[in-house]
């Protein structure tokens, strides 16, 4: 056996035995290695060899499980696996899901296994490449595939996502106001953004599966010889039912361009190419005013989350310089909110 990683020898043996049952053939774990990143979930590279059955041969996989410090706010591994399966079935570029294990006696908690995908996800690195119209078109088309998943089509498989909101924009405004009310300090600039959002809310339209953190940093890009390609859509933990343009606005929002403001599609390429890729694949219009609305929403939502994160530090719940500094990102978001909502007063 190769590297032990952070799985113990006993865990690796139990895993091999469990995989042998699942694969209906003798399965050897050749190597495991803890991958970097993931404070809430742990990812481990897993190389296995299956001696026959329906999946013979060597497989390069990733095992994902809750970290010791897991919090209860994100989807469970079983739910994330269901989302990954639904996305894969819809043709979204995601790592192919293999198996889910809810038997806690194997690794001490639930985990799932998916195919390993190569590429770069770090936004700060990706935006150093030349702008790429074809790449952002492809990303737009892939986002459209996520949005083919509807509450009716998904049925019970995604039942844990709850009842779809009748009016996602107004529901969000109500929720973010409640979040602000739970914080001790008043935040008039964010409040201004929320009032603008309430006043300009679009009429409710179709409701689809939204990733709700669809942005540079959560997309893996592979440097293929014929140019960069989207290789995986990561981090489904905030996925939920919403207006499809919520994801479009989040991806385009200036706060997710990693400083390369002139490349409006996530700092990677031109806005128009991303929108063209999205509209062509979805058959759905993305009117500039409606997209701009969801870009305001993106900045407001990120500002509210950033204030909540800073409060976790200030309140003593979790002392962290990173959380503390998140408060000082908020003025940037407020500046964008105020610039996008210039009104008569």
């Amino acid at each position: 056996m190769g590297m032990a990683g952070n799985l113990t020898t006993e865990q690796t043996s139990r895993l091999a035995a469990w995989l042998t049952d699942e694969a209906q053939a003798e399965t050897q774990v050749l190597a495991t290695e803890r991958l970097s990143g993931g404070a809430i979930q742990e990812n481990h590279r897993l190389e296995i060899d299956v001696a026959g059955g329906p999946w013979p041969g060597r497989h390069d996989l990733v095992l994902r499980r809750d970290a010791a410090s897991a919090v209860a706010t994100s989807h469970s591994r079983a739910e994330e696996y269901a989302l990954l399966k639904a996305a894969h079935k819809a043709g979204v570029t995601v790592p192919a899901p293999c198996v889910l294990c809810t038997d806690e006696s194997i690794l001490g908690g639930p985990f799932f296994i998916m195919h390993r995908v190569s590429g770069e996800a770090r936004g700060g690195r990706l935006i150093k490449s030349p702008p790429d119209a074809a790449l952002v078109r492809e990303i737009g088309a892939d986002l459209a595939r996520i949005h083919t998943i509807t509450p009716t089509a998904a049925g019970e498989n995604l039942g844990f996502l709850g009842t779809p909101p009748a009016d996602p924009a107004r529901t969000a405004v109500t929720q973010y106001r409640a979040y602000l009310d739970a914080l001790p300090d008043p935040h008039p600039a964010v409040e201004w953004g929320l009032s603008w959002l309430a006043e300009h809310a679009p009429a409710p339209g179709e409701i689809v599966l939204c990733h709700r953190d669809y942005r540079t940093g959560n997309l893996m890009i592979d440097r293929a010889p014929d140019g960069p390609r989207l290789s995986a859509t990561l981090d489904w933990e905030f996925a939920g039912w919403s207006d499809p343009l919520e994801d479009v606005g989040w991806f385009l929002a200036k706060c997710w361009r990693f400083g390369r403001w002139d490349q409006e599609a996530g700092g990677l390429g031109p806005r128009d190419d991303f929108i063209a890729g999205y509209t062509a694949a979805s058959g759905r219009a993305a009117p500039p005013d409606a997209v701009a609305y969801w870009e305001v929403m993106a900045h407001v939502r990120w500002a509210v989350i950033a204030l909540q994160q800073a409060w976790r530090h200030v309140s003593g719940e979790e002392a962290s310089l990173e959380l503390a500094l998140t408060a000082h990102v908020v003025p940037e978001l407020e500046a964008e909110i105020l610039a996008m909502t210039r009104g008569p007063s």
């Binding site: 970097s36 106001r177 300090d185 008043p186 935040h187 008039p188 600039a189 409040e191 201004w192 929320l194 009032s195 006043e199 403001w261 204030l307 800073a310 530090h313 200030v314 002392a319 962290s320 310089l321 990173e322 503390a324 500094l325 408060a327 000082h328 990102v329 908020v330 003025p331 940037e332 407020e334 500046a335 105020l338 610039a339 909502t341 210039r342 009104g343 008569p344 007063s345």
Partner: protein
Amino acid sequence: MRKHPSGKALIEIAEATESTADPNAPNANYVAAMIRNARAIVDRQADVGDDADRAEAAGLHALLDQAGAAEDLNRELVRLIRDGTAPVGTHAHLVAVNRAELAESNPRYLARLDDED
């Protein structure tokens, strides 16, 4: 109104982080950059002193035509904004306060915004 933690509280967490930082950790550069950033914010806040708070309070007094502490007046402003009865001049007031905050938290961002206009 400055976001919390600011000033002394921000320096305290920066110093606590520095005293336990592992220089060989894979994210050592990132942690060092955070510590530098926190110190720079606090230095700029110290340079401005109470001037920003005083300017914000004066703006609130004029906007709401009320006396009182800035925090209380900001609470009142939030209520009016939510009720849809914010006074004329609210947006301009918020922009002025925001520019003062950005000048402390990220002056380069503010300079880039000004270059765009």
